[in-house]
């Protein structure tokens, strides 16, 4: 058993605190240089406190609390991310297990992967006839690539030794996939999912700025229209921390599924 308060965790915590202090100092400096045109930490904190006082209020379509905005964003991100992963993992497995599939699919991946989420948006609108569906669509299609590529990489790297075990003991296709292919590739797949959720979370802001309605991206844009830079900065911090938490969740899952690779 690992102790919760070991020296190592204390050091990590200390590093985090120092890092945050440095961030605050830089922020204050920038604020000072721009003569408070960009609000400083203190002014932002006051607005943030106000926002957090009642995060779940809902006064109609254009006036909702930050919590409502945040949760609708997280919901969309998870939907888009799940949708993307549902396609990415099987296609990745296919690419990784067949050289022909790799040769045929890989060029498509390479062409579509660098496309900006914003470029997909009109297509999403056309397909789903709704801004909400379009946002989920662009999250799915821009976040699926790391999962797909990592899955393909993991699967294509299954050692011959493991494959031979399957052959020697007459494993059926399903037994091979569930007992050898997936367990071996799982750490790679999770790394891919971790990168994908990061991208999904980045795309949501851009998506919601275009789609409007409700969400953290819309909130940022709405605050800009209302000229409340403090709200924008608060939102940026919230976006950053939620992103950090999502990443930590997947890195935790990754550690959980990591087996001792040496047999």
């Amino acid at each position: 058993m690992k102790k919760i308060f070991s020296l190592e965790t204390l050091k990590n915590l200390g590093g985090f605190v120092v890092s945050m202090i440095i961030l605050l100092i830089i922020w204050s400096l920038v604020s000072y240089i721009t003569k408070n045109e960009i609000p400083g930490p203190k002014a932002t904190w006051l607005v943030f406190k106000e926002m957090m006082a009642d995060p779940f209020y809902d006064y109609g379509p254009n006036d909702k609390g930050i919590g409502v905005q945040l949760f609708s964003s997280i919901k969309r991100v998870l939907m888009g991310f799940l949708l993307g992963s549902i396609f990415a993992i099987p296609i990745g497995i296919l690419m990784g297990s067949s050289k022909i599939a790799m040769k045929i699919i890989n060029p498509i991946v390479q062409v579509l992967r660098p496309v900006s989420p914003l470029a997909w948006f009109p297509l999403g609108l056309l397909a789903f006839k709704a801004a909400d569906g379009a946002t989920v669509f662009i999250i799915a299609i821009t976040s699926l690539w790391p999962t797909l590529i990592n899955t393909a990489f993991g699967v294509s790297n299954i050692p011959n030794d493991h494959k031979n075990v399957g052959k020697a003991f007459g494993f059926s296709k399903w037994r091979y996939i569930s007992r050898i292919l997936i367990p071996f590739s799982l750490p790679h797949i999770i790394t891919g999912l971790r990168l994908s959720i990061g991208i999904a979370w980045m795309v949501i802001v851009a998506g919601e700025m275009l789609s409007g309605g409700v969400g953290i991206g819309f909130f940022v844009w709405d605050s800009w229209n209302g000229l409340s830079l403090e709200k924008i900065l608060s939102a940026i911090l919230i976006i950053g921390f939620v992103g950090l938490i999502l990443d930590k969740i997947f890195s935790g899952v990754h550690t959980f599924f990591e087996y001792e690779a040496k047999s």
Binding site: N164, K167, F169, G170, R175, R179, Y259, K262, S263
Partner: protein, 285 residues
């Protein structure tokens, strides 16, 4: 008792009495340079049912290639390999393989590694029968108390015992061992030799065992015949040496017999050209 029945069912020997028949075997691979690399050629070898045969030779002499042609992991370029009267088309559960590097699945426990093989091959068993059978095989290699450990928590010898239990658990009529004890220390190795023969005895010496090795003592102690290979590429069989030592063999006793020493000398001279530095063209000062 049930075990015996299964063994008997599997024991369908071909009309010639040979369990494995290798005829005019040649195996070539496309090399990186675009040329064709021939690993072994003109291999003719018949192995009787219940016989233990070692294939011995220097590294790269195609020992493992011959082995893989029996297991079905490699296809012959020419010639045929017949096991139990049927040409080998691919790997099958009538042949149990113990791989050189154990090849346990690192994400499964010892028990699960064996269980997956049993579950895959013996689909006619009930769940309880499978469980019982796995435990019995683990008990045979003395690993029952370590059954929940992951391969990464095992010593080399324990990993190899797991691999042996897994190979025996599918009740193969042929057991193929590819340098099974190569990575083990001398003491563990000796213990496992005895253990292997013990299991073979428990199964009434019905299983045919083919083993690849580069250890002369190991080959003599375990085998009925030793196949000595020439150096590769295009390796051929140099000679097949009979080991006329009665079973059961006692390791400590047989090493002092004249038969053992003769066979040992013969194998040594077949395998090693330079037996002293004088032979290598260097004179003592």
């Amino acid at each position: 008792m049930e075990t015996l029945e299964i063994l008997e069912k599997k024991e369908k020997i071909s009309s010639t009495g040979n369990c494995i028949e290798i005829k005019d075997l040649r195996i070539s691979f496309p090399a990186k340079s675009g040329k064709i690399f021939t690993a072994v050629k003109d291999i003719n070898l018949n192995i009787k049912s219940g016989e233990i045969v070692s294939i011995i030779g220097h590294s790269g002499c195609g020992k493992s290639t011959i082995m893989n042609s029996i297991s079905g992991l490699v296809k012959p370029s020419e010639g045929t390999v017949i096991v139990n009267g049927k040409p080998v088309k691919g790997p099958g559960p009538d042949r149990g393989i113990v791989f050189q590097n154990y090849s346990l699945l690192p994400w499964f426990s010892v028990y699960r590694n064996v269980y997956e093989a049993v579950d895959s091959v013996h689909q006619e068993y009930t769940k309880a029968e499978k469980h019982e059978w796995v435990e019995k095989n683990l008990e045979m290699v003395n690993l029952l108390q370590h059954k929940d450990k992951l391969p990464s928590q095992l010593s080399g010898g324990m990993k190899q015992r797991t691999a042996i239990a897994r190979a025996f658990a599918i009740n193969p009529s042929v057991l193929l061992l590819d340098e099974p004890f190569g990575a083990l220390d001398a003491l563990t190795k000796s213990a496992l030799h005895v253990e292997l023969l013990k299991i073979w005895n428990l199964n009434h010496r019905k299983q045919t065992i083919v083993m690849v090795t580069h250890d002369i003592e190991e080959a003599i102690f375990l085998s009925d015949r030793v196949v000595v290979m020439n150096d590769g590429p295009e390796a051929t069989i140099r000679e097949i040496v009979h080991i006329p030592i009665e079973r059961p063999r006692n390791k400590k006793e047989i090493v002092h017999t004249k038969t053992y020493m003769d066979v040992h000398d013969k194998l040594l001279s077949l395998l090693v050209k330079n037996l002293s530095i004088e032979d290598a063209g260097v004179a003592y000062e």
